[in-house]
Each structure stands twice: as C-alpha cells, then as structure tokens.
C-alpha cells in the first residue's frame, strides 16, 4: 500500500538581482511564514523539514546551518538538507512521508547569486582535474548545447528568441524579468542575453502532507502522482547535447506519459534547453509551458527547481490545471533532471 502525498502550500520571495541588505535567513523567513500561514501550521506541527542550498553561492562552509534559525528549530526538529536544488529536498521529504514516519513536511530552498560572479562560481561544479582548471563557464557550455541543436536542425536563433520573449511576457509579480525584454547582444554565440537567465537571489518553500491530512490543510491538494530523477554522465563529450535521456527516463518513471498534462513548468535556464526538454517530455504544442515565465524570467539558484514544482502545484490549488508536470535540473547542460507529475482531485 502506498500513500497519497500532496503539495498543500507554496510560497516564494521576489527574485531580485541583489539583496545585499539581507542575509539568507532574512530572505527566507518571510517565505517560511507565508507558507506556514497558508496551512495554519506552526513549526512544531511539522513532522519533517528538508532544505536545499549550496555553500558555494554563500561563499562559506556550512552556510545552511544558520538557515535553521529561520525555521525555529526549537524544540529540536527532524531535519535534513541536500546540497542541491530544493526540488531534490522535496524528493527526500516525499520518501520520508512514504515510509509513514511523517505526515507533514516543510521543504525550503534559497540561493543568493549576487555576492559573487555566478558564471565563475558554476565552473567549480566541473571535473576538478581536467575541466574546471580551464574555467569554462555556464553560458559557454549552454552555448555549445544551443549550437549543437542549431546544427542538428532542431531550432534556429529566431525560434530561441521567441522562447525568451514568451517567457518574459507573463504576469508574475515574483519574476525578475518581465515584459518586453530586448533579445540583446550575443553573450556567447549563438546565445544572446535574451536566451540566458537573469542572475538573481530568491527563496521558496513548500508544505507536503499525506492522505487526509492534505485534505485538511488544502481545499484542492496537488497530489504527487509520480516523481523521479536521473543523472547522466558528467563529461559533455560523451553526451548527445541535443537530447535528454535522463529527463525522458524520469518522466517515464513518474508516469508523465500515461496521460497528457495541461501545464508544464520546466526548469530550462537557457532558451535552447526548452527545446531539448519539450522533445524529451513529448510536450505537444497545446501544453501550456511555463505560465510563470520559468527560469528565463527568474532563476534563483537552488530554488528555481522547487519553484517549478510550487508553481505547478499552485495552479492546481487555484483550479487552473488538473494535471501538471514540473521539472528541475542541475549541473551543466541538463546533466541531472527531476520530473514530478501533479494532479488535482477530479472536478
């Protein structure tokens, strides 16, 4: 017997280019209060807490330890942390709820990219002996992928520009870039500024609950029908950058192909990556992709994936969707991918 587990609340901060007047905890606290207020729960009512963040963004070791102060970890709480995007923290919390050891979980994640040079920082994710010493940055690696797609005839520059324009033309008060944003100059050919995500600081939080508890806390819970994640080889030389087999496999395991979805929130920081993901996820033209604007409108590192799940769930909460797909990614050129399928009760 398995348990039904749902996202019952979602909250996020504004995503801003800099938040130098705030610490991570100060950025996070309003979000934690917001998400708990939506359910009426207090910290003491939460059975399990899990967070996602990265020391390298904060520029210091054990950066997540202080974030617990924002949660209010007294009396002591059952708590864990992944050094990953919050989408994977949600996955850990989901497994915890599946075991029956917890009925409710608080999941949060945050990242401040503003204190450093994000493009340089992300090079430190690469193979430390053979690749990282060359400092190939995240935009350059994504440009390799974009060029491979163009060479394969899968897209062209005007099509990429259209993805950027569509992503920013959204009514999302939390987004960092919105409205008529110019496509701009080349950053690394063939990618222009409009093909690249804004660099921003932000935080997000989600509450999960199992079974009847979910119905108590939310009028229309977003049930997690399936969730799975897969990783690929690290070296770009052994991957077909025009495809994402890990996304396809995760989607299959999450049951994404069993029935069509109406909405998809894709974590595609670069316009070209949406092309790859649409193909791997077999999304038809009538699927509404990234109504929130996606990562091209706001891409707070370590939170952007969790925000995709939160945005998809919030649409179900509001009755704007019955079946939605959410995707999160990590690593260069979509190396690691998570897919969740969310559904509301039939109406």
């Amino acid at each position: 017997m398995t348990r039904d587990i749902a996202v019952v609340a979602f909250a996020q901060s504004d995503v801003l280019r800099t938040t130098e007047e705030q610490s991570e905890v100060e950025m996070l606290m309003p979000v934690l209060h917001d998400v708990l207020d939506r359910t009426g729960l207090k910290t003491a009512d939460i059975d399990f807490t899990c967070s996602g963040s990265s020391d390298y963004l904060a520029g210091r070791a054990f950066s997540f330890t202080l974030a617990l102060d924002g949660v209010g970890a007294w009396p002591p709480i059952s708590e864990s942390h992944v050094e990953m995007d919050g989408a994977w923290a949600l996955y850990e919390a989901w497994t915890k709820l599946l075991t029956g050891d917890a009925d409710t979980a608080l999941v949060y994640s945050y990242g401040k990219s503003s204190p450093g040079s994000l493009r340089d920082v992300l090079t430190r994710q690469l193979d430390p002996y053979y690749v990282a010493p060359l400092w190939p940055d995240s935009v350059a690696l994504a440009a390799l992928q974009a060029q491979a797609l163009i060479d394969a005839g899968a897209t062209d520059e005007p099509a990429l520009a259209a993805i950027g324009a569509r992503s920013r033309a959204v009514d999302n008060p939390r987004a960092q870039l919105k409205g008529d944003v110019p496509q701009g100059e080349y950053v690394v050919r063939p990618l222009r500024t409009g093909d690249c995500p804004p660099i921003g600081d932000g935080a997000a939080a989600v509450v999960l609950a199992a079974g009847e508890r979910a119905r108590d806390l939310c009028t229309r819970p977003a049930w997690i029908r399936g969730i799975d994640h897969r990783i690929e080889a690290h070296s770009l030389g052994v991957r077909d950058l025009t495809d994402s087999p890990s996304t396809r496999l995760a989607a299959e395991k999450a049951g994404a192909f069993e029935r069509p979805v109406e909405t998809a929130e894709l974590h595609a920081p670069f316009s070209s990556q949406e092309i790859v993901l649409r193909k791997a996820l077999r999304l038809d033209a009538d699927v509404r992709v990234n109504p929130s604007g996606g990562a091209l409108a706001a891409n707070p590192m370590m939170a952007a994936g969790l925000i995709r799940i939160g945005e998809a769930a919030a649409r179900i909460h509001r009755g704007e969707s019955d079946r939605a797909l959410a995707h999160a990614t990590s690593g260069p050129c979509l190396q690691q991918n998570l897919v969740a399928v969310l559904e509301g009760d039939p109406r």
């Binding site: 017997m1 210091r60 070791a61 059952s78 942390h81 992944v82 990282a132 890990s246 990590s330």
Partner: protein, 388 residues
C-alpha cells in the same frame, strides 16, 4: 502502513590516510564503493540509486561534486541524491538511503560518504569569515573546548578522563586495518604529555585529518535473502537538529541528541540502552566527547558518564565497548566519519569486524553529530530482522 525492513548487505572502506595522492576524488570513492559491492557480491547494474554525502564542498574545492562523481559511482541513468548535514552527514546520508528502501521506492541502494581533505585545508575551509558572527576560533577544537570545560565543571570529572579515551581509541585502531592512525608505540603517558592545543584538549586527544571513503549497500528483505554474508538489520534511525547558538541551548548535552536517541530506542524497542545495546560507534572527535555522549545517549545518568570510561566499561573487552574501530579520534575523513560509525556498527552485528569484533554483538548503535552540536543522526542495527 508498514515500512520495508532495511538490511546492510555490503560494506566497504578505503584505508584512511593523511593524503591519498595516488587517486583522484573519483578514484577514492570508487574504491570504497567497489569494496561494498564485492562484500554484497553485486555489481554496478544491481544498484537502483546512489545517495552520496560529504561535509562542505570547500574541503575539496568542488561545488556539488556528485555531478562529477556520477560516472565513477555507476550512477549514470540512475537517481543520485547528495546529502549535506555538516559533520553528521555520513549518518544522515545512510538514513536517506535507508529511507528509499523503507519507502519501497528502490530495492537496492548504494550509499557512500567521503572526504579527501588533502585536496584542500579543512581548517581554513571552516574559517571563511562570516559578518557579525563569532569565528570558529581556529578550527572545531576552539569551539568545543569551552563545552568540555563546562562538562568537567558540571560533572566533577577528574582531568585524566580525556586521555583514557584517547589511549583506548588509539589502541583499538591498531586492530582495525582501515584506521588512519596506527600508533604502535602509544602509551597513556605519551597522550598525557602531548601538547595542549585548546585547554583542556591535548594534541593526542584530537582527531586527525584523513582522506577516505565509506560505502554501504542497503537492500530490502529480498536483497537480504540473496546476500552472501549475514546482513545487519536497521532497527531504528533518526535525525534531529537544533540551533547552534541560542541562549536556551545546553551545549554539554544538547536536547536534539537526547531526542534523537530516544526516537531510535523507541523504534527499536530498546528499554534500557545500557543493557540492551552491545556496542557503540560514537562520534568522538575530541576525547572528552565519549563521557559527554554516554550521558546524552542515555548510557549513563547525568554527570556519571566519565565513571564508565574510568572504570574501563567502554574498553574493547568492557561491558559496553565504545569505538571498537578506533573511532573518529583515529580516523577522520570528516564527511565519511558518520557513515564509518554506522558501517562499523553494522560490521559488529554481522560478526565481520575482524580483530576489533565484540564477541556476540547483537545490537549496535551508530552515532554522528555535526555543526556546533547542532545536527544529530543515529541508527541502531541488529543481527536479527525487526519483528523477528
């Protein structure tokens, strides 16, 4: 709803040393993983998911190294999770992996924790400046020494207890081929004569900096039935956290540690830990933490832990052996240290601990903590499956 029982069917470690200059980080983790697979007589294809942990990324200077390590750990095409809960991470990583099996999400999971401290400098990795916050006072010893002092004052323990622990653990390490420090000429006098680093903590009462990795293969009931060697069964596991700095905290015996142990004992049906548990692998990076944790974990009343140590109860041939492997005091690849505690507890109940085996060990506790005594993770493993 019922959980799937979780069995440890394979364990592998590297020989821990100050610097493994002969292997990359990938080579180091693969060595431990391969040994765990060999112990379980499985191959990479038998593994459904990989859960990896380590302490801060700054220790090696690689951001989210699981991305780069996916190939080395046979994780390509599989789910891979990366846990980080400070010094308790090795334990938490094993618990997250166990959760995947218990939830019946996966049948067989490889879990691994590592630290290759020689790639960088751990003390400076911990000492990056944080505005408006007290620095760690030149490494962890500076942070923990005042709490040891508080314990001594509170319990009235004589100042000889710390050196007894160090002398015991370093002798135990001589029986463990994987331990980092093999001090064949160790004497109690040498420990007591070693330089004072952070009063009252002496040089020989502190952990070394190690390169090393530890891996375990966890599986469900079906996997345990196929395993070639006796499995260790997880009877209970828990994590607890509390803030590092706040006025109400008892830094000598943190509430989170007590709550974590109580949760594990409840799950495992342990009424009296002193009587019901046969051996303990405890996270003791500074020798005085043995008596402190003996109390925190419920093996002794408050203020009485040092008496167990002084009476030899925690010796390898004592009534409640603690750190049979030599413990963190003899081997400290930080991110792996918690998992080594968990794995050594499992080795004991499998009867596979070799020269440092506690005869007839049926139930053993693995314990880890991290941050400023902020994070705790523990598991209790047994030679018999739960409900048997």
């Amino acid at each position: 709803m019922s959980k799937e029982p979780v069995a440890v069917i394979g364990i592998g470690q590297t020989k821990h040393v100050a610097a493994r200059r002969d292997v990359s980080i990938a080579g180091l983790v693969r060595e431990a993983a391969r040994r765990a697979l060999d112990d379980a007589e499985l191959d990479w294809a038998d593994i459904d998911a990989v859960v990896i942990g380590k302490a801060p990324d700054f220790f090696e200077g690689v951001m989210m190294p699981e991305l780069y390590l996916a190939d080395a750990l046979g994780a390509v095409g599989k789910p891979m999770l990366r846990v980080h809960t400070a010094g308790s991470v090795g334990g938490s990583t094993a618990l997250v992996a166990a959760g995947l099996v218990a939830a019946r999400v996966h049948g067989t999971v490889l879990t691994l924790a590592f630290e290759k401290q020689s790639e960088s400098n751990a003390m400076w990795g911990l000492s990056l400046p944080i505005p408006f916050q007290q620095p760690l006072l030149a490494g962890a010893g500076g942070f923990f020494a005042p709490h040891v002092r508080a314990y001594m004052r509170r319990s009235g323990a004589p100042d000889t207890v710390g050196s007894l622990v160090a002398y015991k653990d370093r002798r135990n390490a001589l029986k463990n081929p994987y331990a980092h420090l093999h001090e064949h000429d160790i004497t109690l006098e040498k420990v007591q004569a070693s330089p004072m680093l952070w009063d009252p903590i002496r040089y020989s009462e502190t952990c070394p900096s190690s390169d090393g990795a530890c891996a375990m293969v966890l599986s469900d009931r079906a996997g345990a039935a196929r395993a070639p060697r006796p499995p260790a069964w997880m009877l209970g596991g828990a994590m607890r956290s509390e803030p590092t700095l706040f006025a109400g905290k008892d830094a000598v015996s943190p509430q989170a540690g007590k709550d974590c142990a109580a949760d594990v004992y409840r799950q495992a049906g342990i009424a009296d830990p002193r009587r019901d548990i046969d051996a303990v692998e405890m996270y003791v990076p500074f020798s005085w933490y043995e008596p402190m944790w003996l109390e925190n974990l419920g093996f002794a009343d408050e203020g009485e832990g040092w008496k167990l140590t002084e009476a030899g109860v925690t010796e390898l041939d004592g009534d409640l052996p603690v750190n049979m492997s030599g413990g963190v005091l003899s081997t400290n690849p930080i991110g792996a240290s918690g998992m080594i505690r968990f794995a050594e507890a499992a080795l004991q109940v499998r009867g596979q601990a070799g020269e440092h085996q506690v005869e007839g060990a049926r139930r053993a506790l693995g314990h880890a903590y991290g941050g400023g005594s902020q994070f705790f993770s523990m598991w209790l493993v047994g030679s018999e499956p739960p409900d048997a």
